[in-house]
Symmetry: C2
Subunit: 106 residues, 2 copies
DNA sequence: TATATTTGCAACCGATTGGTTTCATTAAAA
DNA sequence: TTTTAATGAAACCAATCGGTTGCAAATATA
């Protein structure tokens, strides 16, 4: 059972859940109301998100509030870092090109 | 057949392929040498990456060079943007907290 | 205490996934 | 021209996925 953050965000429903609970904690029932699936399906998604520590629980009586573990999201950002370097370099090269063209015009 | 960039990067082999061809174009055979799978499996991954436009082909005789479509990677970055706002705000709030503590010490 | 509500978990199901083997096509090399 | 090399596509397979229904446990409410 592979359970990493990239696999977690590959499902559109899970991405929507992540966005939904990013700013405020919510119960499974409340989350499920936003989707066209059963509460149990949402519960399954929450389990997957919990397993890869993208989400944390807070128990209040019989209710469980789920909220986003925002720091975990940084792992995606971290992986993107290597590509960001590339596209920024390419952008600068493009910038240099424009400068060269300007110089030629003068 | 859902084919979006998030599903594309959910597989670890595909992520490795992306990193591999990010800086220089490579043929399927050359790519496959880096993995413990058959050339055909890599070919399948390349098809998926091509379908969601993460990768582009350049034909040279009977060889096909695959390289990363770096701009497409920005889509992940774009999705992350909304969370980056959150974690930067939290960081600033933490910063404010430190300032408050400092003031109290004085 | 008896009942209703909130939740997680297990069992099941059809579709999809990542892999393999086999084959056809195209281009280079002998 | 015949042979070899590089590649994509199809058929198949076991494992996983996302969903459902049904049930058990725990907590709140009447």
């Amino acid at each position: 059972m592979r359970r990493d953050i990239f696999q977690a965000i590959s499902d559109p429903t899970r991405r929507a859940i992540i966005v939904l609970i990013a700013l405020q904690a919510m119960t499974p029932n409340a989350i499920a109301e936003h989707f066209d699936t059963t509460r149990q399906a949402v519960s399954k998604h929450l389990r997957i998100l919990t397993e890869c520590e993208l989400v944390k629980q807070e128990h209040h009586g019989r209710e469980i509030y789920y909220s986003l573990e925002i720091d975990k999201m940084k792992e995606i950002d971290k992986w993107l870092e290597q590509f960001r370097k590339i596209w920024e370099t390419r952008f600068n090269q493009l910038d240099d090109l424009f400068l060269t063209i300007k110089k030629q015009k003068k």
